[in-house]
């Protein structure tokens, strides 16, 4: 089955909608950097972006049952984040106190990203993502780029590169690991 950005998370979303916190945590970890980066682009404040990202995911958890897959999951979250960002600048009460509300009734740990990798979002090092990709062996680079840049499914990549799906999966994994290693070496 062809996977695209709209349905690649459908099984995880279905599980999260059924109350599976592990599935929600996976989605949150997956999308936190993109939500955070979007908010940071708007607020230019690390602290505000963290607060707003946390609030975004609290709302996503509260409202995930209303998500019906008519848009990509990230688009839906992005809309929530934008609403919060809008309120952030409209409501003076948000400026009075920056709080971290934890939802004890959900028992969801909203991650706090203070590790060096997260700081890369603000960092010039991310400008070099293309440089890191270029350092990959050609087979890994092709598989990774087809997946991340072109949004191809493993099956499609398998057909394009005439490679078994298991090999595609392995190459994409190794590409990710290699890039993370390159980044950590540059830190």
């Amino acid at each position: 089955m062809k996977k695209n950005s709209t349905n690649e998370d459908s099984l995880l979303i279905k599980k999260a909608q059924a109350g599976n916190e592990g599935a929600f945590n996976f989605l949150m970890n997956k999308y936190y950097p993109r939500v955070y980066a979007s908010l940071y682009s708007f607020t230019k404040s690390k602290e505000d972006s963290e607060d707003l990202a946390q609030q975004t995911f609290i709302k996503v958890w509260q409202q995930i049952k209303s998500f019906r897959g008519e848009s990509a999951f990230f688009t839906w979250m992005y809309r929530i984040a934008i609403n919060l960002a809008k309120n952030h600048f409209v409501s003076s009460s948000y400026k009075k106190d920056k709080i971290n509300v934890s939802t004890s009734d959900f028992d969801i740990d909203i991650p706090s990203y203070t590790n060096p990798e997260q700081d890369l979002i603000h960092d010039e090092a991310l400008n070099n993502i293309k440089q890191y990709i270029d350092r990959l062996p050609e087979t890994l680079k092709t598989a990774f780029t087809l997946r991340e840049s072109d949004g191809k499914s493993y099956e499609e990549i398998s057909l394009i590169t005439d490679t078994p799906i298991g090999t595609v999966r392995s190459r994409i994994f190794r590409a990710r690991e290699n890039i993370l290693t390159y980044i950590s070496e540059d830190l």
Binding site: K3, N7, L11, L12, K15, N20, G22, A23, F26, N29, K30, Y31, Y32, P33, R34, Y36, A37, S41, F42, K59, Q62, Q63, R68, E70, S71, T75, W76, Y78, R79, I82, A85, K86, N87, S93, Y94, D97, I99, N100, V101, S102, D105, Y113, E117, L120, I121, L126, N127, I129, T145, L146, R147, E148, S149, D150, S153, Y154, R169, I172, F173, L180
Partner: protein
Amino acid sequence: MGNIEEKISALYDGELNDQEIDEVLLMIEKDSNLQEKISKYGLLTSAMKHQNKNIQSITSKRKKPNFNFWLSNSITAAAAVIITFFSINQFDLNRMGEDPSAKNQINIAINSKEAKDIAKRAEENLVDHVMHIINNSQNDSVTPYNIDLRNVGYTRLGPDSRTYNKGNKNFTLHIENKNLGINKLRNWRYKDKMIYVVPLQDGRVLTLYGNIDQNSALEIANSIKIK
């Protein structure tokens, strides 16, 4: 470890079946390193998405212009948010010069039924309400209701106060005519205090904020007679 990490990578891409997903979720449940792995993959995607205009697609024959992605991304993201503002205020969007794909993404978001549902609820939602209570906790202004909690052992600090106490339990009480879409008690923790939001039978919402436990909050909610 490599095998589970490879499975995480595959799950990240939506390439595992239902049973495999459950197995992976179980394995990463208590392993913060594996959870962090997901975020790191997310970080790479985030970087790719922000820079995708700079990365030549392998399957695309069209040469894309090279430009500073950080600048363009900032403008795009800012424009995206501005689009939302301007849509609401019916300004002319065509002057913004925003990235068409970003505009399309935002338009989808704005026009989807889910987004409208969320927007409708955005004005009055639990998180906003809870944050408002916390932000205004120092403002011990007059409560519009004469709530007597002596029947459950709580003393009001003054005739116009929102604050009640019993022994080491103390809290502020708020009753508001809000539709927060809840039908049972919800609770949050903020620092060393709890926030309880309880729907009352008459449709109003009771919020208690302070050092009390859930049973006490329910007892208080059940005891309230609005005069």
